[in-house]
């Protein structure tokens, strides 16, 4: 009997302790929306990678007497599907994070209301992929192959410059990429090969890549931290499908300050594929005016200049300046591969399926 009461006492004590310690805010439960008093809540649905600076967000909240509430829903694909599945009773007012590979799915599902933000004038036309302004371009970046500098220096091996180089025997078993069925990074790289070799040629290319020992893993985290030799995970492959901003991130997040990143990006013709991310107002929002203000804020210089070091992407607004670490260590490819979002939407599933049959079977 003693023991039971001790167990119960233990749980009670734990509960009290946990409740009491480190509770700066008195309310453990976030305040539910109370429309009549205090600032209104604007809900922003987005993917897990979304980040921003505290003070940038706070400025917006103060200026507009609004409380921003973020709803994160998995990776870019999962978050979009969540928005689509809940479009009849929208969970949020704004959705940020659909990219050009998923853009058509979002537009077909009709989740956005158009909004011609005045800030669109500062954004180059190449990013404005939706002419009706339902999805507005916020940022861009390139999926590129990263290489382990030390490995190539030590082996005295020339870097591969093109997609064709990767099937040469000297680069046998050196590349790790992601499964396009489970990873958006992997999907984008698959698109780069389709853009370069065409619909009739890409499968042959992948067959050759397979014969040359390409390693395919589920997602970016595994590829970069488990397989890539240039990261601190110290895997076996010196080439990884990652982003052109990854070397800059290696400098920002080094354990001890370094003046050169341990990795670099291969920026040959069509070895990179440009990804553009969009934001839009969700259909059925009751806060249309505030949602517009938030979109103007995301396209405005302050947020755009905050983005690079938060999410390691490039601003679309031409007036936004890049941080030094970006201009020094991240390079933009001169000729990134591109595909029309409509073509992607029409063929994505078929391409992934065909790819799986060639590579995974």
């Amino acid at each position: 009997m003693m023991r039971i009461s001790r167990l119960v006492t233990f749980f009670l004590a734990m509960t009290l302790l946990v409740g009491a310690c480190a509770a700066p805010s008195t309310s453990t439960v976030p305040p539910t929306q109370t429309p009549q008093s205090g600032p209104v809540t604007l809900t922003v649905m987005t993917h897990d990678s979304f980040a921003a600076s505290k003070d940038v967000i706070a400025t917006f909240e103060q200026q507009n007497n609004v409380k921003l509430s973020f709803l994160k829903s998995g990776d870019a694909g999962a978050a979009l599907n969540r928005a689509i599945l809940s479009k009849d009773t929208p969970l949020a007012d704004v959705f940020y994070g659909v990219d050009n590979t998923f853009l058509s799915r979002a537009l077909d599902a009709d989740i956005y209301e158009p909004y011609a933000s005045p800030l669109l004038s500062s954004i180059p036309a190449e990013f404005k992929l939706d002419l009706q302004n339902r999805a507005l371009p916020v940022d861009f970046g390139d999926v590129c192959i990263n290489y382990d500098k030390a490995f190539f220096a030590q082996k005295n091996l020339a870097l591969p410059q093109t997609l064709e180089d990767l099937i040469k025997p000297e680069y046998h078993a050196m590349l790790v990429t992601e499964n396009p069925a489970t990873s958006s990074t992997g999907l984008v790289f698959l698109l780069a090969t389709i853009a370069h070799f065409g619909e009739n040629g890409y499968l042959d290319y992948w067959k050759s890549l397979g014969n040359n020992g390409v390693v395919v893993v589920d997602g970016w985290e595994t590829a970069y931290y488990t397989n890539f030799s240039g990261s601190s995970g110290k895997g076996a492959q010196p080439l990884v499908v990652s982003y052109n901003s990854s070397p800059a991130a290696e400098v920002v997040y080094a354990t001890t300050p370094i003046d050169q990143p341990p990795t670099g990006s291969i920026l040959g013709k069509d070895t990179c594929f440009r990804q553009v991310e969009f934001v839009g107002i969700l259909k059925g929002t009751k806060q249309r005016a505030l949602a517009e203000k938030f979109i103007d804020f995301m396209l405005g210089v302050k947020f755009q200049e905050d983005m690079p070091l938060q999410m390691f992407v490039y601003p679309t607004n031409l007036q936004a300046k890049l941080p030094e670490v970006f201009t020094k260590f991240a390079q933009l490819p001169a000729e990134p591969a591109r595909l029309d979002p409509l073509v992607i939407a029409k063929n994505r599933d078929a391409w992934i399926k065909a790819w799986s049959e060639v590579i995974l079977k």
Binding site: L85, L91, V215, V217, Q260, P262
Partner: protein
């Protein structure tokens, strides 16, 4: 008038059911819980899947897409379960029957794998077994090889190994607690009658342990059956279970009809399995378990054979279950800078830097969470889950006791076999307006965790409750004890170990859960696994180190809590 009379008669009938079968009352709450938080959202997904299927038509080769993952799912789950039992049963025996120095710590360490997020386990396995992992590096240096001799990543072998790594604790805990409570006299009687110790084990001990072995096997099998992260991260893209296929179809391809079909098949298999289990488990009345004197039946190993057995078992457990954890913890204290410039040995000094950095928010991100805060969020959710699943579990097992029903039993196992992805979609579809709204309900997190924990609680408590001889309660009642007193002084002492085991299991299930939490928890209240994942989603040595440091914090938080619970009840 007529209709009203009919309604009244109906109500009377329902009322009569309640008075005649008091068990129905006990069923009420747990069933309500399952109904609202399991069947309702799941039903919404299935309805939508069927609607889409009708409006869009089926793909042609549906069965080809179903058959292959189904076969592989069953095959790997079967192999994994057998291997887990092969390690877990001897380990349960040793831990139940012998006392040795460090036993309490070893017991806690073997529980820790259960809580680790797959992404961290993948890192740990890679650090040990990967092409440039410690074992391969050692072998290369020792034998002067040029290529890593061990190639286990992305094989069936590493999937099985990871499943054993994760689930052995389930066998150790559930079977071990039953083993330590076995009535020694039965075995002694066998020995006195001249049976060899093998024969006693085979014909007395194992049959007595049968209910708990079956329960543990069922749980482990279902865990492996719905395995997701292990397959995806360690097995690589060449392997796909039903759950992986559901994830791909539902969240990446947005092919709801196929995802729905796959989840229905998964549920059906769970149901079938549970029925088979009920047949196997219920055809014999278990021998009553009497409350034992504390410590009876456990002793220090005597003679070289027993000592060897205990030492060998401890060594195997350390090598298989603890060494990946140790590799992780060690790496979180090691400088992890990527090589730069030249090759050759990297400076490998020890550092506390990753832990220090956990307390700093260098980019001033709004989603930064200090480690103490994340640990606190995790503990709040874990305690709530333990409380909720234990209360509901108690109600359910007593309901089964008073009003046995095989169908109900099967119902309570279903959440374990349900696809987490499908259930998550269901939550979105139905809980999107007040009063049940995923946006403003942090308590949906423990609810979701409890759905997973409840089957464990039920399966752990039920065999023990069934084994309490009725005449024990009757004698207590005859001697004048109130029903409450009978429960407090007869049932509870016998069930104490089982209660503890289910508390530990639900606590750890909640601490380590990632999928549902990332879906339901608000970004301002992340748990430790979510904080780990956030670090791993950006490149950089610091992020990697901090992820490992956070994982070590998670292990420490969990280890200390389990140790405390173990100590409280011993």
């Amino acid at each position: 008038m007529k209709r009203r009379a009919a309604t009244l008669a109906g109500l009377e009938q329902i009322g009569a059911v309640f008075t005649r079968h008091p068990g129905v009352w006990l069923w009420l709450l747990p069933l309500l819980f399952l109904g609202v938080f399991f069947f309702y959202p799941l039903g919404a997904v299935f309805r939508m899947a069927v609607e889409w299927a009708f409006s869009q038509g089926w793909a042609v080769d549906v069965w080809a897409q179903v058959a292959h993952p189904l076969f592989f799912t069953i095959w790997q789950a079967l192999l994994s379960t057998l291997l887990t039992l092969a390690l877990g049963l001897p380990a349960a025996y040793v831990l139940a029957r012998y006392t040795f120095p460090g036993k309490a710590v070893l017991q806690v360490l073997t529980t820790l794998p259960f809580i680790l997020p797959t992404i961290v386990v993948a890192a740990a396995f890679n650090a040990l077994l990967g092409p440039r992992g410690w074992i391969n590096v050692l072998l290369i240096q020792f034998f002067g090889l040029t290529n890593p001799p061990l190639q286990v990543m992305n094989t069936l072998g590493v999937i099985l190994l990871a499943h054993v790594f994760y689930n052995t604790t389930v066998v150790i805990r559930i079977v071990g607690s039953a083993w330590s409570q076995l009535d020694l006299h039965l075995e002694q009687a066998g020995r006195v009658l001249g049976a060899s110790s093998w024969k006693v084990t085979w014909e007395v001990t194992l049959p007595l342990l049968r209910p708990s072995i079956l329960a543990a096997s069922l749980l482990v099998f279902l865990f492996d059956f719905t395995s997701f992260g292990v397959i995806l991260l360690l097995g690589g893209p060449h392997f796909a279970t039903l759950e992986v296929e559901i994830y791909t179809q539902a969240l990446q391809m947005l092919n709801l009809p196929l995802a729905g079909l796959l989840s229905a098949i998964q549920l059906l298999c769970t149901l079938l399995l549970t029925f088979v289990y009920a047949r196997l488990g219920n055809n014999k009345q278990p021998v009553p378990l009497m409350p034992r004197l504390q410590g009876e039946g456990t002793r220090s190993p005597r003679g070289w054979r027993q000592k060897l057995l205990v030492a060998g078992m401890a060594a195997i457990l350390l090598a298989l279950l603890v060494s990946p954890l140790a590799a992780l913890a060690l790496r979180s204290f090691t400088r992890l800078d990527a090589d730069r410039g030249e090759r050759g040995p990297v400076s490998r000094g020890l550092t506390l830097n990753y832990y220090r950095q956990l307390f700093i928010n260098p980019q001033q991100s709004i989603f930064y969470v200090p480690p103490v805060q994340a640990a606190r969020n995790s503990l709040v959710y874990a305690l709530a889950t333990t409380g909720l699943s234990l209360s509901l579990g108690f109600l359910a097992v007593y309901a089964m006791q008073i009003q046995p029903s095989r169908e109900m039993e099967a119902l309570f196992m279903l959440p374990l076999g349900a696809s987490a992805v499908t259930l998550g979609l269901g939550f979105i579809l139905v809980f999107n307006r007040p009063p049940l709204d995923v946006r403003s309900m942090p308590w949906l997190v423990p609810v979701a965790h409890s759905l997973v924990a409840l089957p464990f609680v039920v399966r752990t408590l039920q065999p023990v409750l069934q084994s309490i001889p009725g005449n024990l309660r009757q004698s207590a009642a005859v001697l004048g004890a109130s029903p409450w007193r009978v429960w407090l002084e007869v049932d509870l002492p016998v069930m104490l170990r089982a209660v503890l085991v289910s508390a530990i299991l639900s606590f750890t299930i909640s601490l380590g859960e990632f999928g549902a939490t990332s879906f339901l928890a608000r970004p301002e209240y992340p748990t430790l696994p979510i904080a780990i994942f956030r670090f791993l989603s950006l490149p950089g040595a610091l992020n990697y180190g901090q992820a490992l440091a956070m994982a070590t914090v998670l292990m420490a938080v969990c280890g200390i809590s389990i140790l405390a619970m173990d100590k409280m009840s011993v």
